[in-house]
Symmetry: C2
Subunit: 176 residues, 2 copies
DNA sequence: TTTATATAGTAAGGGACCTTACTTGTTTTG
DNA sequence: CAAAACAAGTAAGGTCCCTTACTATATAAA
């Protein structure tokens, strides 16, 4: 799931880091500063998004589910596919689906291929909601990133992708 | 649950964005891609950190509190200062302090200047814990960021700081 | 100095996501 | 084709952080 919940904190500044770098031999000041900046920036973006979604009565998690359904040509997916794509547990999906169903945004349809499960289907009300949210969401994103020009945005994306590709956890999972 | 994270990463996000960009006029593809990469990267880092803290029986929030106390020359701060610096609500601080106290990592000392409140003080056990966590924490950070060289790290930090400086909400809050 | 207002901290309850331990079907395999 | 292994979904309970509404103390203003 693109949403996550660390909150913005008063993280150490360069002065303090200099002090600590003498004490902790493994400390790379530039690495720590990048990391702090990354977490802080993401947290701020996430907060802006959350507040926007909240005005429509949904969470970032629910938005993700609606988007995943929206991308399907038939607007439907199984709970387990949703949970994998959204990167939440199956149990969390149960809760999200239940909430979205109560709000009338999705419905459960029988799964013809597997009687254990069902398919989650976007309802017209859900589609409408999404198509009201998206224009604002995208223009908010453009505005949030507007202090970087196109070259800088590409540079940022590239640096982040290099990082992500190298994360240990990610690579462990790939082996499965 | 840590299932396959392929959907967001490996499948042609760009293709979908191209489609949407025709539908939503305010959509800037590079901005959205940067934003997604940012949120995903931060989320992965946060997950690695959380798991490390969990092995010591504390959360990211508790770690932050311990760090804030660690930075004080007398190892103590009031709950309300902590909540401001950690950017959590006062009520959340109550819970964090209560947990840390039960774990014997901090203690409550009377506040000589204000009989409404008290001071939170790092106990030796808390100090020890922190000094066991920090070397690993810093070397983990170095490793997470090791796919970027020093120049790239500085570039990343710089781009992120440009972004943050320009965030609307952040600036509103700063005025308070 | 009394009254109004602001601040420190807590309690209660909520939302989002997690893990563990099921139940119920489906697939594999011996 | 039965038995074992596996997969889909749910329930229960936990964690972390939130908001709202309160108590108690401190400070400013009339």
């Amino acid at each position: 799931m693109e949403g996550f919940k660390f909150s913005l904190r008063d993280l150490p500044q360069r002065e303090i880091l200099n002090k600590y770098s003498k004490q902790f031999s493994g400390l790379n000041i530039n690495a720590v500063e990048s990391c702090i900046a990354l977490l802080r920036t993401a947290s701020q973006i996430s907060e802006v998004y959350d507040k926007h979604f909240a005005t429509y009565g949904i969470s970032e998690g629910k938005f993700t589910i609606l988007m995943l359904l929206y991308r399907q040509s038939d607007y439907q997916l199984s709970p387990v596919s949703l949970s994998i794509k959204a990167e939440v547990s199956k149990a969390t999906m149960t809760g999200l689906i239940s909430g979205l169903e109560n709000q009338g945004l999705i419905e459960k349809a029988p799964n013809p291929n597997d009687r254990r499960g069902y398919l989650v289907r976007l309802r017209p009300k859900g589609l409408d909601l999404l198509e009201r949210i998206l224009p604002v969401h995208y223009s908010m994103t453009a505005k949030l990133m507007s202090s970087l020009d196109e070259t800088q945005l590409k540079e940022l994306t590239s640096l982040l992708n290099i990082l992500t590709k190298n994360f240990p956890i990610t690579n462990e999972l790939k082996e499965e």
